[in-house]
Symmetry: C2
């Protein structure tokens, strides 16, 4: 008899040992067999970057068989740590470390917001979109709390619901989901809003300091500026204690601007 247990590949950008990914593993194990391929160290803000100048390694960190816990079935899990980026992890994991094509790719739960313009910098979302370009259903999860010991408890029923929905229904072709949760102090959440990414930017990006030799260096800091937190955006949803779900497509083309720029063909 064929094994019909769903196969779920998980990665993140905070590293395999982070609380967020271990939270996600525990929820995903209720619904399928889990393979984890995640960065061995923090790889935040790696966006969609690839490792081209050195080879990748993967080490098995731990694994567990099927078991019952609290009346729930927990399926198998095998965790690998990789020296590459989150995007590398998805490619390597899906091609060489899964017994068959995964049914779903999950990324997160990230410690910190990936709403609005953060999408384009995020390793968590880079990984989810890499899965999408390769034809997988994929979800990136993030909590608006960057602390190492952040409280993910209020996320759990929503993660469960969204994973079940996507396993049952799939997603539109070449679309992935970007899911963000308000921090736990704002729970209980009011529900889910399906919305668009708010337009925003990071400004005043650096703090200049001088080293002990009088030479300058610059630390990345930055201020998040969003003048677009209207009700159809993720930023608005999060500020009003909703879980935001934004469908993402790995294509930056501005189709309306194509016609505006046709004069360039002359």
């Amino acid at each position: 008899m064929a094994d019909t247990t769903p196969l779920i590949l998980i990665t993140n950008d905070d590293g395999y040992a982070a609380k967020g990914i271990n939270t996600l593993i525990e929820v995903a194990r209720e619904m399928g067999d889990v393979i984890v391929m995640a960065p061995e160290v923090n790889a935040s803000a790696k966006s969609h970057s690839l490792t081209t100048a050195m080879p990748l390694r993967a080490r098995q960190m731990w694994s567990a068989g099927r078991q019952q816990r609290d009346g729930r079935l927990l399926n198998t899990v095998t965790v690998y740590a990789c020296n590459g980026t989150p995007t590398d992890c998805v490619k390597l994991g899906a091609e060489h470390f899964t017994p068959r094509r995964p049914d779903l790719v999950l990324s997160g739960i990230n410690h910190g917001s990936n709403a609005s313009i953060n999408v384009i910098y995020s390793g968590t979302i880079g990984a989810a979109l890499e899965a999408v370009t390769n034809g997988y259903a994929a979800i990136g999860f993030s909590l608006l709390d960057h602390h190492a010991d952040a409280d993910f408890t209020p996320c759990l029923p929503y993660v469960r619901q969204l994973v079940q929905y996507v396993l049952a229904n799939g997603l539109p072709d070449r679309v992935g989901l970007n899911v963000n949760f308000p921090r736990a102090t704002h729970a209980p959440y009011k529900g889910v809003k399906v919305c668009r990414s708010a337009q925003a930017s990071w400004t005043d990006s650096f703090e200049r300091r001088d080293d002990p030799h009088g030479q300058p260096y610059w630390w990345l800091t930055g201020t998040f500026v969003c003048n677009d937190n209207v009700p159809d955006t993720d930023q608005w949803a999060l500020e009003h204690d909703y879980v935001s779900v934004v469908p993402l497509r790995p294509d930056y083309t501005d189709h309306q601007a194509i016609n505006l720029l046709k004069p360039l063909e002359q």
Copy 2:
């Protein structure tokens, strides 16, 4: 009297010493004063990644004043090398190394294609889109030839035309241009096509090898698979010897999918 010479910030992902960026500097100097902030070493495939765990440094590598050459005015140029990513370079350059807000940000000319799905991995395009998120007009240029000594000659009149167009007309709000050139052996080019990014992916991504101790490692390789090279795409334009121009917006939202996924709000 105010200086009305345009101010142009230039970066790339191949590093400040690459032939492509030096070609771009020479063309841009005909039209404005140029500040270059580019990676000190190769930073290809860095996408939109940011450097968060260490500070940035910038070293001035060379500069030149206004001069005439071949009857053309060449404006000032100052070149800095930075230890950060292309995205870092745009942020640091625009905020701390330009005398005023740049009129235009250019990235490239990249050695190698940034058409189709390559957009999402590219440091060249990551830099151009970083400029767009901060409200600058921006263009990324790439040649479909990754050799260090690639021939950029046939690109020059098109680079000149596109820079002049954008300096004179600007671009639609929050839109940047992704310009790709067929390799020089396909010149003279047939003209410009304004088009969309072709849907594609990279598959079979790794070559597995064993190290001298019998331990496995994986090198990124990959095969470009595009089943979408129809006439409105950049891939089709390039395969038919046109220069491709794709308007890009730094927003992955799939607006059509929002309605399809509204059931998630129940």
